[in-house]
């Protein structure tokens, strides 16, 4: 058994380090919803940006990019079938080594940093567009007061770009705070957003079809060189080099390639597929493929078709001048039907746009945080960045850095979606290119398990030639190279940004290497790290019925002291565990000790051991990587067959809320599972006890009296003399369950809400009813004259 002890090499403190993240798994529908929250959001701005760059035939290029995204998705499926966390960093590192991995992750960071600003500003454009349109409509009807009219010297009007900047800043700051507090990304929320988006997409497509029949349409020019009309900005450096020559005419195909390069941001977000892969439920590969199909079809239908429809239905005179940054709103306004219906639908489009685009701002922060945590785990970023927030335990320093860069980007863009989109494409195309190039190298280099391969593959003389993978890589590489020449803003911004990040990573890695060598020596003197793939009693050498003590902040270990003072460790083992919160996107399996056990854990356990030494009792130490600390605690308690979990009071949750969070995590564990007791130890030594799992609820005296009265009445009925109290309760609950599930659902909910309002806020009351336990002991025989709680 692990224990405290003197720090001689022969008797060091043993710490079991679990090397697999404790995850809660999700269905492929939820995984698809998370990815689509990022990928489908580009439908709101991609076509507008592409049309400004290449002209009216832009939708065909968006459609081509969406079709090509099916092939890119295949590359990601293959990489995920090799590595559970098959994102760019891991794949490039395996194939091309650390230097190019740092370079590719710098490009990916540029992609993620830009995702936030472009989504926030785009959402702002949709909202401000609606507000201004509402002002115009109200002014036409004379609803604007004269004083307001005079103030604005005409119809009230908000500056679209500046207001969008303010909006984007507000959303970014909001999600910065949410992420600092550690609000977990919810697949449930992502699913709801996608359900609402789907309703909008269905209405959009159906109504557009009706409009095409009733009102006709403008043809979309075919994507041939003579139909391409590049703006000066869209030719970038080539525009400076060949000012008098039409490149599209000189090199016909080059024009197609340039136009394709300007549309490539429509498929941004594929990387998120690799990030959600590790959380997919079994069978992982099959579910990954299903999620990928859903994502590809959905984004093709939404992004591709809405791009085509926008050119077909919105007149040329207003499409770019008025609606370039909010094309779907423009589409809503040019549907066939009464104005009021179109305005209502436009408002709905704006609401959906707000939900999905502001969700993408959050995804950008989470994604950046995940990627930087991942490289930080590998020692590429200094441990300083991973130091947990004092109050919330999150990697707030990384979040601060990401959000600061996003705020600077928003301010620098001055609300110009086109500039942001052009720059954004740099990160998107280069991270895909690095990924596909690395996958190609790995076809020859990697000898491990590979669940699936991008088809077709031709075998000549025993050597397999990955034709499909090579083809995808060729398209991505040629597009990335041409974008370097045609997207001057993206090239300058992207190269500078990536270079700065690359230098930071390289210096950090160098400093870390030295520091880790010293830390390793120190660690060898004090701790013995034992790696274990899973958490079980065997690896810790403990008995069932132990007490699990989660710790996080080394300044608040009062609860550990309380447990040790109240536990006879000769009879009952005490396990001190800490959950190393592993962010969305970080590695999941086969982690090294250094990835999980950082400086922080070392300090934390040194303090825990000091507490144990001062009380004179033995403890076992455990580090668990986890996505969600509550799930980690519940799963660890389950795996170790703990009888109690003793935690300190949280700084951001009440004891009842902590119990509710742990109870919810316990519910997610598959059967069979055991109940345990949760003790929340407050600093003053007061302990709140809760039972986790199903249990006899607390019954109020008046409820017991009512039950007894009912029992008295019922047993007076002929033939019912032998009915027990619990029979009454069974009948009552059966009837309640029936009514709740059928006709009386609404009334019951209303009644419970009324009760909740009368006796305090419902959530607290519900929490208390569900999990707070004062277990009444059935001390009386059932046939008793007085009222009592029924037997279980």
């Amino acid at each position: 058994m692990s224990s405290f002890g003197p720090t001689s090499p022969s008797n060091r403190v043993r710490i079991v380090v679990a090397t697999s993240v404790m995850l809660t798994f999700i269905s492929y529908w939820r995984a698809a919803a998370i990815v689509l929250n990022d990928l489908a959001s580009s439908a709101f701005y991609a076509c507008g940006i592409a049309e400004q760059a290449v002209g009216k035939s832009a939708p065909w290029f968006i459609v081509a990019v969406m079709l090509f995204s099916f092939a890119v998705r295949a590359v990601y499926v293959e990489s995920c079938s090799m590595f559970v966390r098959g994102g760019v960093y891991r794949v490039v590192k395996e194939a091309l080594g650390g230097t190019l991995a740092k370079l590719s992750v710098s490009a990916l960071m540029f992609d993620y940093i830009l995702t936030g600003p472009i989504s926030g500003v785009s959402a702002g454009q949709y909202i401000v567009g609606l507000i201004n349109e509402t002002f115009i409509t109200a002014d036409i009807h004379g609803w604007i007061p004269r004083a307001v009219h005079n103030l604005f010297h005409g119809t009230p009007h908000l500056n679209v770009n500046m207001t969008s900047v303010v909006f984007a800043l507000a959303v970014t700051v909001y999600y910065w705070w949410e992420n600092t507090k550690g609000i977990q990304e919810s697949s449930e929320k992502a699913l709801r957003v996608m359900q609402i988006t789907t309703v909008m997409v269905v209405i959009l497509l159906a109504w557009s079809a009706l409009t095409l029949v009733k009102a006709g349409y403008n043809p979309v020019p075919l994507p041939v060189p003579q139909n391409l009309h590049f703006s000066k900005e869209s030719l970038g450096f080539l525009g400076h080099s060949f000012p008098e020559q039409s490149l599209a005419r000189m090199f016909g195909l080059l024009g197609i390639l340039i136009a394709f390069g300007h549309s490539v941001l429509a498929m941004s977000g594929e990387e998120s597929l690799a990030q959600v892969n590790r959380e997919l439920a079994h069978p992982k590969l099959k579910n990954l493929k299903k999620a990928a199909i859903v994502i590809a079809i959905y984004s093709f239908v939404f992004t591709g078709l809405s791009a085509l429809l926008s050119v077909m239905l919105i007149p040329d005179a207003v499409r770019v001048p008025v609606y370039k940054d909010n094309l779907i709103s423009g589409l809503a306004m040019y549907m066939w039907g009464p104005l009021i219906l179109r305005l209502i639908f436009r408002a709905f489009v704006v609401v959906v746009g707000f939900l999905i685009l502001s969700g993408a701002v959050n995804t950008a922060i989470i994604g950046s945080n995940g990627v930087l945590n991942r490289v930080s785990e590998d020692g590429v970023l200094a441990d300083w960045f991973r130091f947990p927030h004092r109050k919330y335990g999150t990697s707030s320093r990384i979040i601060n850095m990401v959000v600061l860069l996003q705020i600077l980007t928003i301010l620098a863009s001055r609300g110009d979606v086109y500039v942001l989109g052009e720059a954004y494409a740099f990160g998107v195309i280069w991270s895909f290119t690095f990924n596909s190039l690395s996958m190609l190298v790995l076809r020859f280099k990697y000898k491990g398990e590979r669940g699936w391969k991008v088809p077709p593959n031709l075998t000549i003389g025993g050597t397999e030639i990955p034709i499909g993978l090579f083809s995808v890589m060729l398209v991505l590489l040629s597009t990335a190279l041409i974008n370097l020449a045609t997207k001057s803003v993206a090239t300058l911004a992207g190269v500078s940004f990536s270079a700065v990040f690359f230098v930071i990573f390289t210096i950090s890695e160098h400093v870390n290497r030295k520091k880790h060598a010293l830390a390793k020596e120190h660690m060898k003197d004090h701790f013995q790290l034992l790696q274990s793939d899973t958490v079980d009693r065997g690896s810790l050498g403990i008995r069932p019925g132990n007490v699990l003590v989660p710790v996080r902040d080394y300044n608040t270990l009062n609860h550990l002291r309380w447990v040790l003072e109240h536990t006879d460790t000769r009879e009952q083992d005490v396990v001190v565990m800490t959950a190393r919160v592993s962010q969305f996107g970080t590695a999941a399996y086969g982690l090294s000790s250094e990835q999980v056990f950082s400086d922080y854990e070392q300090t934390l356990f040194t303090r825990a051991v000091s507490v144990a030494e001062s009380v004179g009792k033995r403890i076992s130490l455990l580090v668990v990587p986890a996505r969600d600390p509550w799930s980690a605690i519940a799963q660890t308690a389950h795996n170790l067959e703990s009888s109690a979990v003793s935690a300190g009071i949280s700084s951001k949750m009440s004891a009842a809320e902590q119990a509710f969070a742990l109870g919810s995590a316990w519910e997610a564990i598959p059967e069979p599972k055991k109940q345990f007791v949760l003790q929340i130890v407050k600093p003053e030594g007061i302990v709140d006890t809760f039972r986790i799992g199903p249990h006899t609820p607390t019954m109020k005296n008046e409820d017991v009296a009512l039950l007894h009265r009912l029992w008295l009445n019922v047993t007076r009925e002929p033939g019912l003399e032998n009915v027990h109290h619990h029979d009454i309760l069974t009948e009552a609950l059966t009837r309640f369950a029936h009514d709740y599930g059928t006709h009386d659902h609404e009334n019951i909910v209303k009644e419970l809400r009324r009760h909740g309002t009368e006796s305090g806020p419902l959530p607290v009351r519900r929490i208390a009813d569900q999990i707070h336990t004062v277990q009444p002991e059935p001390t009386h025989p059932d046939r008793d004259d007085g009222p009592h709680s029924p037997k279980e």
Partner: protein, 48 residues
């Protein structure tokens, strides 16, 4: 001279793009067939 170099580079890029696009269409068709089989419950084997 400069124009010749540019022309050669452009032709290389165009060739890469066209060859890649043709191959990607094949990827699209083949993986699309696999996807349909998966969706309709007749998944084939494509393991290494």
């Amino acid at each position: 001279m400069g124009l010749i170099i540019v022309t050669v580079l452009v032709r290389i890029l165009e060739t890469m793009f066209v060859a890649g696009a043709i191959g990607s269409v094949v990827v699209l068709v083949l993986s699309g067939i696999e996807d349909l089989k998966l969706l309709f419950g007749r998944e084939g084997q494509n393991h290494s």
